[in-house]
Symmetry: C2
Subunit: 141 residues, 2 copies
């Protein structure tokens, strides 16, 4: 189909490889994760374990939600809470090689999709941006 | 064109009207804004002035960036800083009635676009989600 051809035109750009994706570890503390998320500027980033498997997604609001539950913002408490205690674990992971139609379908509800190898190790993410570029090209044909 | 027709099929769903868009005011303090952003769960929200004009965009990382600059996280300081001091003011605003091709082009780099009337008052936002739905429909034809 014309659509798939346009989107796949830049298939090699669709996947952001794991080494280019900002991430944190499951056992990092929230004071460290707050710093990373603030500095990288991405709203949501993957959480990996020591075997490089995807375990969760983390956003700043998951951290501030944990802080706001305390009496008053107690920065010291942040160094006692692990990322694994606040991260989101309910999200899709697709296996490499991924199917474009499946990715398109999932990207309706998520701003990016995590991709893993058949053994579970993190391969990269497919963000919406590349699809928006394809759509932009389609509309201007 | 087929693309425009598909995307415009749901033109009435493309714009999220202003009354459904979470926002804060320019003179709100950061402790209030932190609470709103944490509770609504959106990563970026518009900032309006008292005349309902769009003045900026705010994310949690803009707030945590301001806090991390302090000696230690000082929650009291948050009630002294105004939203207008940390918000992003460099972003596109399109005028209603908007041109779909222009919106598609801007949505490559932004997860949503703010729409205003010709007098500048906030009309709503066009998020990427609706475009992803259109693309999904196109791919399944
Ligand atoms: N440093 C930067 N340089 C250029 N453009 C930037 C940027 N930060 C954000 N953007 C733009 O804003 C969109 C939304 O970013 P957000 O951080 O909310 O949401 C991002 C973020 O949560 C995640 N993401 C993307 N690239 C990432 C990376 N290298 N590492 C970790 N997470 C990433 O995927 C989501 C969707 O990304 P997508 O590219 O579709 O869409 C991005 C991109 O178009
Ligand atoms: N409460 C919720 N219910 C259902 N799905 C949810 C959701 N919160 C987030 N999502 C999903 O996650 C995507 C990214 O949301 P995010 O908050 O990073 O980025 C959002 C947010 O910054 C802003 N946004 C969308 N709707 C908003 C609203 N009603 N008020 C304020 N900002 C909104 O536009 C960006 C793109 O939104 P988009 O809908 O394309 O894409 C959304 C949507 O597909």
């Amino acid at each position: 189909k014309k659509i798939e051809a346009i989107l796949l035109e830049n298939k090699e750009h669709i996947l952001v490889p794991a080494e280019k994706v900002a991430h944190v570890q499951v056992n990092n503390r929230l004071d460290h994760a707050l710093l990373v998320l603030t500095k990288v500027g991405y709203s949501v980033i993957p959480v990996l374990d020591k075997d490089y498997c995807i375990k969760g997604l983390l956003s700043l609001s998951m951290i501030t939600d944990a802080i706001l539950g305390l009496e008053k913002i107690d920065y010291e408490k942040l160094s006692e809470i692990e990322v694994s205690e606040v991260m989101n674990t309910d999200f899709p992971i697709v296996e490499n090689p991924y199917d474009l139609e499946e990715i398109l379908h999932l990207l309706v509800d998520y701003s990016f999709i995590c991709v893993a190898s058949d053994e579970g190790s993190f391969t990269g993410i497919v963000p919406r941006k590349q699809m928006m570029k394809g759509l932009n090209r389609l509309a201007h044909e």
